[in-house]
């Protein structure tokens, strides 16, 4: 797939004048109303300061951005986002790769294993958060009680690092299935002859993995890394909102959570809009990276 081939021509086509407009109309209308209009509003609002009741506003230029980038809280949320996203991406990728390598080895029951590993994909992030909250509930969660038995003072309502651990576990749990499927597909595409040749040369399974399989998997790994980061950035709002609500303090308030929190709870529309604009810019960069990379994969 190649996004930048906007001008690819079908050699044959229908010579109609009005019908095509009618066909694209529904999507255009939806996009204009629910996408371009809000995006434009976000840009506009980022340059205004609104009072708490939304009654009046004044043009303040880049003040919202200046304020944002002088606000230690914002840097804190960037840091939280980075810690959270990279923890989720790396633990998710590592566990999924391990499981996929194991599943690729087994002959019997591969599909059963796959079925039993992929279903968490279908669980809503908010529900994943609630499920793990129960396990880690400081007063009665089995894992929390077990940790306390071993002297770990687990209370994710008071301890920021523990709260972060909990949301990372919940978010990773849901994402393993996705990574697993892609890794398994990637592993199955590694030519058997290469592995056979290496094993005839006396390479151990361990060595074969690091010198042949892992390098050949690198396109898949990189693709999954980008997808996982995007997932951790945007799709994990539910995990955080249902379990920690950004707390304790702001120790699990990611950038997306802060946009929501400042906009709907703090009613600071200008700052929230400025944050939206920053995020839009970030997503834009990530999308370009993604497509650049995918273009290269096509040429492979």
């Amino acid at each position: 797939m190649n996004l930048w081939q906007g001008a690819v021509l079908m050699s044959v086509y229908f010579p109609h004048k009005k019908l095509p407009y009618l066909l694209v109309l529904p999507q255009l209308v939806i996009t204009l109303i629910f996408f371009l209009w809000p995006a434009e509003q976000a840009f506009e609002q980022a340059f205004y300061q609104e009072d708490a009741f939304g009654l009046s506003r004044e043009f303040v230029g880049f003040d919202n951005f200046v304020y944002l980038f002088n606000d230690p809280q914002y840097y804190k949320s960037i840091w939280v986002t980075l810690v959270f996203s990279f923890s989720v991406a790396f633990s998710g990728l590592a566990i999924a790769l391990w499981l996929a390598v194991m599943a690729d080895r087994v002959i019997r029951g591969k599909l059963t294993y796959q079925t039993l590993l992929v279903w968490p994909y279908a669980v809503a992030p908010a529900l994943a958060g609630v499920l793990w909250w129960l396990l880690f509930d400081p007063s009665m969660g089995p894992i929390a009680l077990w940790l306390q038995y071993f002297g770990v003072d687990w209370n994710h309502f008071l301890n920021g690092d523990q709260a972060m651990t909990l949301v990372v576990i919940s978010a990773t749990w849901k994402q393993i299935s996705y990574n697993f499927l892609f890794f398994l597909a990637g592993l199955q595409a590694v030519p058997r002859s290469l592995i056979e040749a290496a094993s005839i040369d006396g390479a151990s399974p361990f060595k074969r993995f690091w010198t042949i399989v892992f390098p050949l998997l690198s396109p898949t790994t990189f693709f999954l890394l980008v997808i996982n980061l995007v997932y951790a950035f945007f799709d994990t709002f539910g995990v955080i909102d249902a379990t920690t609500q950004g707390g304790p303090g702001v120790s699990t308030a990611t950038m997306v959570y802060k946009v929501f929190n400042d906009g709907f709870i703090g009613l600071d529309m200008g700052s929230s809009a400025a944050q939206s604009v920053v995020l839009m810019f970030l997503v834009g960069v990530m999308t370009v990276i993604q497509f650049r990379y995918i273009e290269r994969k096509v040429e492979y």
Binding site: A39, V118, W132, M140, S276
Partner: protein, 282 residues
Amino acid sequence: MIENRPWLTFVSHFSLLLGIGVVALPVWVALVASTHPSSAFGAGEIPLWFGDQALENWRSVFLGEASSGVDVPVWYMMLNSFIMALGITVGKLFISLLSAYAIVFFRFPFRGACFWVIFITLMLPVEVRIVPTYEVVANLDMLNSYSGLILPLIASATATFLFRQCFMTMPGELIEAARIDGAGPIRFFFDILLPMSRTNIAALFVIMFIYGWNQYLWPVIITTDDAYYTLVMSIKRMLAVDQGDIEWNHVMVTTLLAMIPPVAVVIGMQKLFVKGLVDAEK
């Protein structure tokens, strides 16, 4: 299998079983929790084996007799979830099939512009533009309505993109043949294009349904009327009490009920699901 290493085979199966166990652990505990009276929780311990309240808990939560902080029963919210999920799925498929058809099979002025307007949405999930989207929907008077729940989430180009890819691989001779046989564009669409993209549509249906069912932030923001609550978001309301007062048995029944439909779809249609996943992210 390249060589026989029994020990490694054992490690493989063991790792996989361990992985499955860890992945299933929270659901196991949730299932167990859903079978006990609420008095079984908070005593510094949680029951680890099934209790005898299963039927009672599931029935009262499903019918809305259990106090949950929401005024409508769970079956009603389940219905709302179905309406939203199906609305998003069908709506997305509808608009994207049509626009992909137009972009691939027709030449018209501003085609490039239409293409870009639609595809720019690939870049921005609703979470990023949440506040302005809320304001637009409020201006259109669509808060607390099904159209408000559904329409803004349809504004994404992933499906259009996918159908465009799929249509572009179709041989041009097909259209030539259809035109020689006297079929117009509408006939071509229904008699040739749709049947040929059947699997793609089904695979996308599975992915979109899960996506729609699992929406959380958007329904939380635009519904204040309990009659439009969806099951996934209602969990927030049930947890919005003092920490000691959470009725875990009821929360867990609700959580499990909210998980069952999408999980059933993934397991029951695994082939289509995998295809949809791989296609959608390729």
